[in-house]
Symmetry: C2
Subunit: 357 residues, 2 copies
DNA sequence: TTGAAAGCGCTACCAC
DNA sequence: GTGGTAGCGCTTTCAA
């Protein structure tokens, strides 16, 4: 009853009939294949156009054996679907993934992070990029078991029973050393009470970063000062900052928040950056460059990551060998917000040690 | 040669053979259709699982005659693909579209805004939502001609030769009156030299907003003060503000920019909001609420728009009659940034006239 | 040069 | 209850 246009839709065979040729000839004429006289080809093309013929995409995909579609899912906040899209990191990652996929001739499907069981398997995907899987994330296993190539992080791949033929490839960061790099920098800049704002999630990034922080504190016999956000949203971030700020001389945020707004808030509490509070934000928000003072940032390179992920995925899909994975180093940009002015330049160079040159 | 896993992939017929039943029985057992004894059903399911069988999504889609996939394209910056994703408006729109689509059982494909000819027609889509089409946008016409249901804005639909059977449905705003509402408010608040920051694009929103501004100025015999951004990026916005600010007592931005950063920049130029410069931003950035002062915003309701668009699209796809379109009113939230403190409350009520209640 | 026919993998109709 | 078989719309091999 519905799908009323089904009958109205002109098919290959309709064109063939109208042009007085066979389906083969139409297909060849339209796809530039076969060896047809130019006259036939043009005639068929004219008829096809006049009928408004459009090949059915699904049918060609079935025939072709692939869909040229890859899925992308950001899993960090599985329980609150899609709020993560408000975070600049994921937005840039998805954006860059789309751009990279296009270059390789693939389209991108936004995967639901929730839904009935393994509904994601119903989508006609050639491969998937699972970003920030949570602990024991079922999505990675589901796709791998279904024989769909996956790119994700190493932990997620390791968790999956390695019996599957396709092991999955990975894109990863050493989150722990990135965090230590920031913490060391803050210590060098004179901070003694570094506070951290983290999210309550089992995504690799947060777990490893927090672990690194706790270890770092333990090594120094310092008491950790950490606030776990219970959900996304600006108010949560500002509240967390408020709770930590009185007893801290440096703030390292693992969650995204507008740098300009963060500075405003800190100012409102009577503190001043960098004079009596150093600030480093994990963020992709480009406004960090333009604030007063400019804010030091730790970036997890969404563009580079996405490009590598897509390249890896496409290799996997198209049966090329290629690398098993790519390990990246986070990009730490030191700006005025984390350099105490009275103390002169920090002992470490301002250039990121992990990304020399 | 590639697609090496093709042969490895277990198909329905493999399961049937292994279970010693027919394809039909397997299909019925796995899909819960038909009337099979529980024993058979379970046996088949067990065999299927042990073989790691996964139905081929493309094949079921071909059979079903639909793909449960809708495309979404944001066309405002066709020439610079995907930079628009950095804008909160599009991000929220795509996010909300994805969420709404999921509710209706559809997945979302991010459409390339560029690429060889009508490459978008190769994707197996049931329908598309074309956001902010540019003037004479080919994408809308392509899809309509191909018989793919489209939701876009009224202008885009009107531009297409109306000979097609499916006319397309629309979601729209009266951009002109929204702009006038803001301008009138600024005038009421005492502004005499309202400057506008716009983008150089032929998207309906910008064209109509700018036209409304020019008309509004002409009616008052005022000289328009307007800056057209030549591209996205923060620096462009800040430069535009710098160019306008000296000769303005109110600023109305049509392009997105971090409210907090905008305030900082204005402060840097020695101006103060709202004391000697009123500010209204067209933005979805929720930080506008938390700045000091909070910034007045004009919102084009991405969530509501997306929900309506998806509902309209799904109606169209599934052959239901439903509405032809939905006209929305922008949401103007007046906050401290556009209320001159010395002059007392503005003459107009602070509640948005367009969204009473 | 052209066309008939065999599928791609699945679901559903309809006999058995 | 179960299983042939037709067919979704296309491409491609192969025979004419």
């Amino acid at each position: 009853m519905n799908q009323s246009d089904r009958s109205a839709r002109v098919r290959l065979v309709d064109v063939a009939r109208a042009a007085g040729v066979s389906k083969t000839t139409v297909s060849d004429a339209l796809n530039g294949t076969g060896r047809l006289p130019a006259a036939t080809r043009e005639h068929v093309q004219r008829v096809a156009r006049s009928l408004g013929y459009r090949p059915n995409a699904t049918a060609r995909l079935l025939r072709a054996g692939h869909t040229r579609l890859i899925g992308v899912a950001a899993r960090e906040h599985v329980e609150t679907p899609w709020v993560y899209a408000e975070l600049a990191y994921f937005v840039q990652l998805v954006t860059a993934t789309t751009r990279a996929a296009l270059v390789h001739g693939y389209g991108v499907v936004l995967l639901p992070t929730t839904g009935p069981g393994d509904c994601w398997l119903d989508m006609p995907l050639d491969g998937v990029f699972v970003v920030d899987p949570v602990e024991g994330d079922p999505m990675v296993g589901d796709f791998l078991a279904a024989g769909v190539p996956v790119v994700s992080d190493r932990r997620a791949l390791k968790e999956v029973a390695s019996g599957t033929k396709e092991a999955g490839r990975w894109v990863d960061f050493d989150y722990g050393s990135a965090a230590r790099q920031v913490l060391d920098h803050l210590e060098d800049a004179g901070a003694e009470r570094v506070a951290v704002v983290a999210a309550a999630t089992t995504a690799c990034f947060h777990q490893q970063s927090v672990d690194a922080y706790l270890d770092w504190c333990a090594e120094r016999g310092r008491e950790p000062r950490i606030a776990y956000l219970q959900g996304p949203g600006i108010q949560n971030v500002l509240d967390a900052v408020e709770g930590l700020i009185d007893d801290a001389d440096a703030l390292f945020t693992l969650v995204e928040g507008s740098p300009a707004l963060l500075l405003d808030t800190i100012r409102k509490f009577g503190r001043s950056v960098p004079d009596d509070l150093l600030l480093v934000c994990t963020t992709e928000d480009p406004t960090a460059l333009y604030t007063d003072p400019p804010v030091s940032t730790l970036s997890y390179l969404p563009d580079e990551t996405a490009q590598a992920a897509v390249a890896l995925l496409v290799d996997s899909i198209e049966g090329r060998a290629g690398d098993h994975g790519r390990l990246f180093s986070a990009d730490f940009q030191i700006r005025a917000s984390s350099v105490a002015p009275g103390r002169g330049p920090a002992r470490r160079t301002a250039a990121s040690p992990l990304t020399p040159g």
